[in-house]
């Protein structure tokens, strides 16, 4: 048997205890143990951004974070962005602006955009493009994703 280590972390505001193998990633336990499959698995080398989550306020590629490193951390995944069954203004803007096609990259895009706006409520187009450069979208919705982030920032100002 592979030895496991107990970790405790907060995921979307809920405390969770998980026994994890030393080599398992945060992505592994989110998807396989906690059944939070909104966070997606693609490249596993930290290049595509599909597995982006928030760890203690900053974005990480959850495929590159060992689960044991997340012991004690506060994690937010895409499932944590909507409150009380109501999608967030950012999620709504993604829909309204046509930023979503196949949708597979969208959880990661949303998490990156959410953290960007939290730290920089009025980003420029260049800042948005740079902040989301680590989130690949093969449907090529980059223009619409940028529009959605801009629109969310403008809406928040009103």
């Amino acid at each position: 048997m592979i030895p496991t280590y107990p970790i405790e972390l907060s995921v979307n505001g809920r405390r969770r205890r998980v026994d994890v193998a030393a080599h398992h990633s945060l992505l592994d336990i989110l998807r396989d143990d906690l059944e939070l499959t909104g966070t997606k698995e693609c490249c596993l080398v930290g290049e595509c951004g599909a597995c982006t989550v928030i760890l203690d306020g900053r974005t990480v590629d959850s495929c590159l974070v060992l689960a044991v490193e997340a012991d004690g951390a506060e994690i937010t995944t895409v499932e944590g962005l909507a409150a009380a069954g109501q999608v967030s203004p950012l999620q709504q803007a993604f829909l309204d602006r046509g930023a979503v096609q196949c949708g597979f990259c969208i959880p990661g895009q949303l998490i990156s955009a959410h953290v960007l706006l939290a730290g920089n409520p009025h980003p420029t187009v260049g800042e948005i493009q740079e902040s989301l450069a680590g989130n690949l979208c093969r449907c090529g919705c980059y223009e619409q994703i940028t529009d959605a982030v801009l629109a969310t920032a403008e809406e928040a100002e009103r």
Partner: protein, 748 residues
């Protein structure tokens, strides 16, 4: 007009699940008792398998099954859409790097991976071919055993088919100017962000398969045939895909997973890594020689085209890619004489398959680039030159085939205007323009069932796959419009062959037209029933009643459908059911087995500048204009066009497989194989459409999801040529390649 109706852009049906993470893709589905699978491969492209020792792997606790070809029926079953040449597992020999020789099924993913590493495969590396030059060498080792190609005159070569198209006689056509060049296009890969995923489970006397597949009914047929089961006992689930782009059309590893699940007696699941998807799907690499003849006034005299497509070790749909794209190689022009020779060439590499544009981006890269060269040599404006030769609406530009089905001149004029064609350029800038045309589907069969429920809500059943293109939304809009339901009262059921009626496939940008027509026909059948109801209820002659766009038009007044439906159904409630069919049968006399239902036509115009120090190409403005007939959902049309344009920039500027001498892909995975990110966009992306409601689909729509990828490369290369004076004929236009070309530029 309501935003939900035809011509409006309501939010994507299924969008909420995509932004909240609740949308379940295949890899997100958890079956109880499922075994995790891992493929066993060897570090070599072509090898003779001497032995496979599974002892150590089987000894690992948690390993339930290891299958090799020896555990499959004899002879090992093979499959493929036309040539049944792909074995379920490698038999005796591997033919490309990454071809599975065994599969492990274990209780956990960790165990499966470890066991796969413990399987000892003894093998002997064999001579192999990875390039066109090597594959076409008369002394080349043969990829396909000639014994498998009886009565095939090409059996002693690596050419699987040689296609000949054309008309007139190029050998006697006279021209004032002849321009001849050779162009190359590398192997690239689909890189859907969702890696392929497969599951299979014994299901009573049958089997259930979950797959990231565009064509659930093709998969059903394949599995039924391989397992000897009736179609009804093969249930295929295909949840919405995380991108397909052609790479998820044909069955690949599903047969293997099906045999594994039946043998294990338990569900089995295989999710590929991104690296494994690189070894599963790719676009064909191409070398094309184009010889174009023109009169001095710019009138095209002939096209003489010879293209070699480097496909992989198994044919899959790659030969269709070759024939379909090359048949249209002369483009949308009036060409008096043409000769097209196109070869489908096997190699010991990943099987190539259809990818957005089905070979047309490769052919268009060469032929449109050569036309730009002709304009340059003749001293003609490339736009005027094209317009001079462009087929007019109704003109049979390919003799005997579907005539030009759009006002393509309007597309060219619009793109030229949007790029500012003819206006002064800043120093160091260049502009380029190119046209792309692709044959739409040549056969088709789509059925749809639509149910109008007692409260006026609607359920649509379709076998189309929604892989991001937005088919679900468009079908919902059609039914909402025709039956008068609010869009959020329409449910679209897809992705389960036990529930939805047959659909041939989701490809060739067909679904809006063919399945759209089937949905429309089903709605019309319901409308006819509503008309009968209204006549009965009001004691009127049916002929005096019209039902359209959700409204019952009675003599003198209009009422919503629900006001007829409710009393018409009566106290028991119930529903009205409509069935629709869209069919286009094959035409055996046609070179493609059928004339296209429509053409996709696009004009792309680029303004670019080049950093002379680094060779970096900066796209200042990218204009893409498509003839879509009628945009049923203009926002989704923009998303598809701009997305296709960006995909085109990928193969134009950065994407390519790089092989080592042993046929292994060196840049395997996301670190070394780059696709466009948000930092690689044109400084300005402008898309527009031409709509004349002249398509065969609902309300005059044409298919449109591939047009904008077709001619990006020749437009960019023409802009680079104007900016720098250098013509580059090999893709991609990486900084290194451009820098080298600039360095070697002759001093004027």
């Amino acid at each position: 007009m309501s935003r939900a109706r035809i011509g409006g852009s309501p939010n994507r049906v299924g969008g909420i699940g995509r932004v909240t993470g609740s949308q379940q893709y295949v890899a997100d589905i958890r079956l109880p008792d499922v075994l995790e699978a891992k493929l066993v491969t060897i570090d070599c492209a072509r090898a003779r398998i001497i032995s496979i020792d599974t002892t150590a792997a089987l000894a690992l606790p948690g390993v339930r099954l290891i299958m090799t070809a020896a555990d499959l029926p004899r002879p090992v079953p093979r499959f493929g859409p036309k040539f049944h040449d792909r074995p379920v597992l490698a038999v005796g020999e591997t033919n490309y790097h990454g071809e599975p020789v065994a599969i492990v099924a274990a209780e956990t993913k960790d165990t499966a991976e470890e066991a796969a590493r413990l399987v000892r495969v003894e093998y002997e590396e064999l001579p192999a071919v990875f390039t066109l030059a090597a594959a076409l060498d008369p002394a080349a080792p043969l990829v396909k055993d000639p014994a498998l190609r009886p009565n095939d005159p090409l059996a002693g070569t690596n050419v699987i088919r040689e296609h000949h198209f054309g008309w007139g006689d190029v050998t006697i056509a006279s021209a004032d100017v002849v321009v001849e060049n050779t162009y190359t296009f590398p192997m690239v890969t689909h890189f859907a962000i969702e890696p392929h995923a497969f599951m299979a489970a014994p299901d009573g006397a049958g089997i259930a398969i979950w797959s990231t597949i565009q064509h659930p009914y093709v998969l059903q047929k394949t599995i039924a045939s391989l397992l000897g089961m009736p179609l009804a006992k093969v249930r295929v689930y295909c949840p919405d895909l995380g991108g397909g782009f052609g790479g998820k059309q044909q069955p690949k590893l599903e047969p293997l997973i099906a045999f594994t699940a039946l043998r294990a007696g338990r569900p089995v699941r295989l999710v590929l890594t991104l690296e494994e998807t690189f070894q599963a799907v790719r676009r064909a690499a191409v070398e094309i020689r184009v010889r174009t003849g023109c009169l001095s006034d710019g009138t095209l005299a002939f096209q003489d085209i010879e293209s070699n497509f480097l496909i992989g070790a198994y044919v899959e749909d790659a030969d269709r890619v070759v024939e379909k794209s090359n048949y249209m190689a002369c483009g949308p022009y009036r060409v008096p004489a043409s000769r097209i020779v196109a070869r489908t060439v096997l190699s010991h590499t990943t099987p190539s398959c259809s990818m957005r544009g089905i070979g047309t981006p490769q052919v268009t890269w060469a032929v449109e680039s050569n036309l730009n060269e002709c304009a340059y040599v003749l001293g003609l404006d490339p736009v005027e030159f094209r317009l001079h030769n462009l087929a007019r609406m109704g003109e049979a530009f390919i003799p005997g085939d579907t005539p030009a089905d759009g006002r393509w001149d309007q597309v060219v004029h619009k793109a030229a205007e949007m790029i500012g064609w003819g206006s002064p350029l800043l120093p160091g800038r260049g502009r380029g323009l190119a046209l792309g045309i692709k044959s739409g589907p040549t056969t088709g069969l789509s059925y749809s069932t639509v149910r109008l429920l007692a409260d006026g809500s609607v359920i649509i059943f379709v076998g189309t796959s929604d892989m991001g293109q937005g088919a679900r939304t468009v079908f919902a809009q059609i039914a909402a419009d025709e039956l008068g339901a609010p869009l959020d009262w329409v449910t679209v059921v897809m992705g389960d062959t036990a529930i939805v009626p047959y659909d041939q496939q989701t490809s060739a940008s067909r679904s809006t037209v063919l399945m759209g027509n089937a949905v429309l026909a089903a709605c019309r059948e319901i409308q006819a029933k509503v008309r009968g109801m209204a006549a009965r209820l009001h004691g009127l002659d049916e002929a005096s009643i019209v039902v359209e766009h959700g409204v019952v038009r009675l003599p003198g007044r209009d009422v919503p459908i629900i006001e007829v439906l409710r009393p018409g159904l009566g106290p028991l409630g119930g529903e009205l059911v409509g069935n629709g069919e869209a069919r286009k049968d094959a035409d055996p006399s046609h070179p493609l087995s059928g004339a296209p239902v429509f053409f996709e036509f696009n004009c792309t115009a680029i303004e670019a500048t080049v950093d002379e120090e680094t060779g970096d190409v900066v796209i200042v403005r990218h204009v893409t204009v498509s003839d879509v007939g009628k945009a049923l959902n203009p926002l989704q049309v923009t998303m598809q066009d701009e997305g296709a344009a960006i995909m085109g920039l990928g193969h134009t500027l950065m994407e390519q497989y790089i092989f080592d001498e042993g046929g292994r892909i060196r840049n395997l995975g996301a670190i070394d194989y780059r696709i466009p990110t948000s930092m690689d966009l044109p400084l300005e992306m402008l898309s527009a459409i031409v709509e004349n409601a002249d398509g065969p689909g609902p309300y005059g729509a044409k298919g449109m999801s591939e047009g904008a990828v077709l001619c990006v490369a020749p437009a960019v290369a023409a802009a680079v040529r104007q900016a720098t004076g250098v013509a580059i004929r090999d893709l991609p236009l990486t900084p290194e390649r451009v820098w080298r070309a600039l360095r070697d530029r002759p001093i004027p």
